[in-house]
Symmetry: D2
Subunit: 361 residues, 4 copies
């Protein structure tokens, strides 16, 4: 899980991307980065370990002029947690610069990498995403979108990607549509983001999602779309709805809030709790599902756990030790709500069934 954001033709492209990454922070806290086209297709990037709010200072962002930018927040799935693995990847090739931001996992990355290495290629990270850059650089096609089509042909697995080549911004989703990617507009500028909440924060209007298998190219001439990849059976990741995405976002063309609410209602039907007196959530990721459970069951929704806002997101810490230390200070119960009552607690494991428990301290 990662967050990606791109903007084409905006006077403060890097600053807008920075703001967009703020609202995609929940998709990855390990590292963040922004690459901007500074002039004549020349690219410059900043990358940092940790949170968007920690890694960049205003001086660094203002060192990124230009009107096209892409950004990335990383949660490590493939590749270790180091600055070398922060994205966007920024490389130089015969045609100038290639920058790439990737959300997803490629299932045949090892095979593609071995093939590239056999041809003498070198790699500077352990990320599967780096093979895409090599494949882009090797394409003999002229148009950036044709290069990307060449590069993606034969790639298996999940990818929602943003690519900068020269002054062309490319967006693409794999044919199965594993990961979300949406497009919006703000005063004539084109915006891409993993979730619509990033459109909201920058004041952009939602246009549509990028279709599975689609490549969208934006340059000075306008927006072009193509679907050069063979179609596949859809495989949208259910966890986007369950806990990856924010409830104020639309992903896969639907509302995350509505989807979670529906999961909660279905949970209430499949796992009713007739003796329970109330339902509560583990805030905040399970709030919507708990509300759905309450709606369906008629049980009152209670706010029984208080979250300490000065501790980062539990789920997303790469090591178990980091997770444990933070959980300890993260939640506290409101005893007056829980003491002596039969309750339903809804948490992220909602797809597996609710926890029914009598509460005592």
């Amino acid at each position: 899980m990662c967050g990606i954001f791109g903007i084409h033709k905006h006077a403060e492209a890097a600053q807008v991307a920075h703001l967009g990454l703020y609202s995609l922070q929940h998709r990855g806290q390990e590292s963040a980065g922004i690459v901007a086209i500074v002039e004549h297709g020349s690219a410059r990037g900043v990358r940092a370990m940790g949170l968007v709010s920690e890694g960049f200072d205003p001086a660094e962002l203002s060192s990124l002029p230009g009107d096209i930018a892409i950004g990335h927040t990383r949660y490590s799935t493939a590749g270790s947690s180091t600055i070398e693995n922060a994205q966007p990847i920024l490389s130089r090739f015969r045609g100038g610069h290639i920058s790439l931001a990737h959300n997803g996992n490629l299932t045949n990355a090892t095979e593609m990498r071995t093939k590239l290495e056999d041809e003498g290629s070198i790699f500077t990270s352990t990320m599967d995403s780096e093979v895409l850059v090599h494949r882009l650089a090797k394409s003999a096609a002229d148009a950036p979108e044709a290069k990307l089509a060449d590069a993606l042909l034969g790639v298996e697995g999940a990818y929602s990607i943003l690519v900068l080549i020269g002054d062309t911004l490319l967006a693409a989703r794999d044919p199965r549509g594993w990961r979300p990617l949406v497009m919006g507009k703000i005063n004539g500028s084109t915006v891409f983001a993993s979730e619509t909440c990033a459109l909201d924060i920058v004041g952009a209007t939602y246009e549509r999602e990028i279709a599975p298998g689609e490549i969208v190219a934006v340059d000075r001439a306008g927006v072009r779309s193509a679907s050069p990849l063979p179609p596949e059976q859809l495989h949208r990741c259910i966890f986007e709805y369950v806990y990856f995405a924010r409830p104020d976002s639309r992903v896969f063309g639907g509302s995350v809030d509505r989807a979670r609410r529906a999961l909660g209602r279905r949970l209430a039907r499949e796992h009713p709790a007739p003796s329970a007196e109330l339902v509560f959530s583990v805030p905040d990721s399970s709030n919507s599902a708990a509300l759905g459970y309450a709606e369906q069951s008629g049980l009152p929704l209670e706010l029984a756990l208080i979250r300490n806002h000065y501790v980062g997101r539990t789920f997303i810490q790469p090591t178990q030790a980091g997770r444990d230390a933070k959980v300890k200070v993260k939640y506290n119960a409101v005893r007056e709500v829980l003491e002596g009552r039969s309750v339903v607690m809804v948490d992220d494991s909602v797809v597996r069934g609710p926890r029914l428990a009598g509460w005592s301290r």
Copy 2:
């Protein structure tokens, strides 16, 4: 508003205080500090600007051995935002060390300070709290609690304070009881804290609140209580219930959650919204009140605003500029919930009346 925490006779006193401050972080984000008695009444402290999670590293805390400690999280009310104004105050006097952590504002601090200066005293901070240390040092009494009674006689305004003199830990509240202060126990150790959520996090059991005008002294011999100050009309600060304290805390002998819930119900009675279709809160400080409004009005509670957890608490930033920049990235609406509907939004201004509005984007 500040948070204070103290513990007497615990093998890892400074670490426990550190944990306690984590759960009092919402009471002040400007600076934090811990003072521990390291041996034979000798005191050592660490203080840092910013959050508890940022300011201290394990090496600093482990440099604070000893089994008595007090801690403080500061929100600036009197005195500027500098490291000199971080608490606990740590001073040396004829009897050894005095350390003091103060929550509240003294209304006659200027008069007391002028009098002390006329006697030749010097001050190193701009905090009203510093006059209390001078008054403690000047007391001719022997027992620490008698010194504190001397020091507090004639002091006007709000104070919940923790004081370390030698190996005695003192806790006191002003006679009007403006600010909360509770006492708990953990395995024979005595704990004091602004709110019970800090007892919960360290695993302590709630005993009782410190009474208005009471001084409690804890030393190797045990716990003593006295009420040497003239009684006054109670004036507990209503804002503790409205938004200072955490809903999982007990303050002033009552549940914050219950109090906020009752405020919400009363709001629904005094300001009914017959045409509204739903009620929602500005998370998280207004959650309990919104739930009360929903209970009373019969309107469904909705979760219509999503909070970005990677931005600090809005209210608590000292400058307006800091507040504004953070609000912009802090909340986003769930459009599916709000669009085209008549709503009640409950926020921190609940005591002044609800906001009734039709929502459109």
Copy 3:
């Protein structure tokens, strides 16, 4: 050993003090600080652990407007190595602000401190210098220089001090003249510094040294001098000449270079090395003495040890561990110069006699 610097009536007083401290860095690397009078006698200060080049950023210095400033570089002799013990001390008293920067050790500080504590005073540092601030605040005299005379009467030991009270800058030396202090002028501004090298760096002209027992006061009306303290036998610290001061400085009215050169010549007379083939120094503190030895003995001066400039000053690190680790990477021998030859090495222990040795590796 510490360095002190003061300037009166200069448009960029804090920046000039900062520059001056750069050239007094050799007198103390533990912490540094600057206090400036920002308006109407209001004072503001910055203090930091470590080097002048590390502790302050331009933003901090530009937060110190005003045309009067004093600064300090600290080497810990009395009091532990903490930010609380960084100078200048900045306190508030009935007359406004007192700031004080002190070089030297007071021998009756404990007695004075006990007396002050018995009167109810509190202390916030472990520095002997803090008693001077208390004594200043308690003086009933009106004129700042009269306050300082009151404060210094009865003080024993070494002090060269700079004091800011309102818009008056005071400079004083103890009657024995233990530590150096000089006065200079730059475009009508008055400058004080521990050594003349600090006058050079800011472009000031040397005027004279402050006399033992003298108090100089500078305010908008001009410069006044008084010698209110009983005279004492002079006791200027010989180590200023041997290794504290920089050879490009004048201290105690004489050139450090000339003094060290003379020590080297005397060493050659008292400890001749007839079989030696060359003389070399441990750079840089012993360079002048080695040159003197060479002049007197007729032996050629060689540069046989190379100093790594990326390691801090050896002598001045407070802990032995810090000293050892740094010595290891600090010097290397030029083998071609030393191999197989009889040599005289001159180091800081010059007053005890030279080291005569055959060199082999």
Copy 4:
């Protein structure tokens, strides 16, 4: 100008490399890095902007176990001053890892790079050194030294390089011998360094210099040497003797101190100063030359400029602004030595002739 260091088969390889880089700091202050072989040929690196003493903490170094390591200190000649351009370069290829540390400038880098890009290669830095890594990865040869011979054939310009492939450490110098590179031994371990002062600091014994055009390979089986490149006319860089290298080093098979001394003597013969009374140097880079001038001319050597040790090396700051600000606080004259006298000042421009001047202030 850069510094390189390598060690093969030492229990604390990364720590030894760290120490070695300390003594090569004068060759580059812009960034530093170390790569170590951690197990089974797997490599891990740390890189940081700034000084060796600032960039790395003990935890980072201890994260680099293994018994083979190379290190680099960088002064930017080709490529901008960013972390992406810090060395050693660490890449993965079909044969595992390649790490490379390079001192020198390649004159046909652009042509080689264009050719590689035309074949589809991508670059992640702007350093000429990166082409060497690509060429290594593309070699079809089996033995690491054969790969390196393939890679270097046709490369023009200056290079002293260290390369890690698997558990083989390679060292090579270009056929003209532009930059120095020496080999030493410590308890059976093989050490390579730009200058012998880095051997001294780690306690290694000097063996010999790497010959121009030579490739040395060290692996578990031992040390092998080859000279596969066509011989060229020698072109050793004179500036190594004039001011790059440290005077306690041997480079190009000779003593830097002796070479500088000889330059100073020749200067005295070619530019005698019959009316001068003394000679002095701009410390420390001109000390040896000034001594040579003194020896030849019979003039006394004086120490007339004092260097502030708390400011970094002037020459080496990439921007003029940085150089200017630092020069201002860097040197001060000893007036007693200079005033009213006719002097010879020897500085880094010694090859162009001495500065003869009467001194007055």
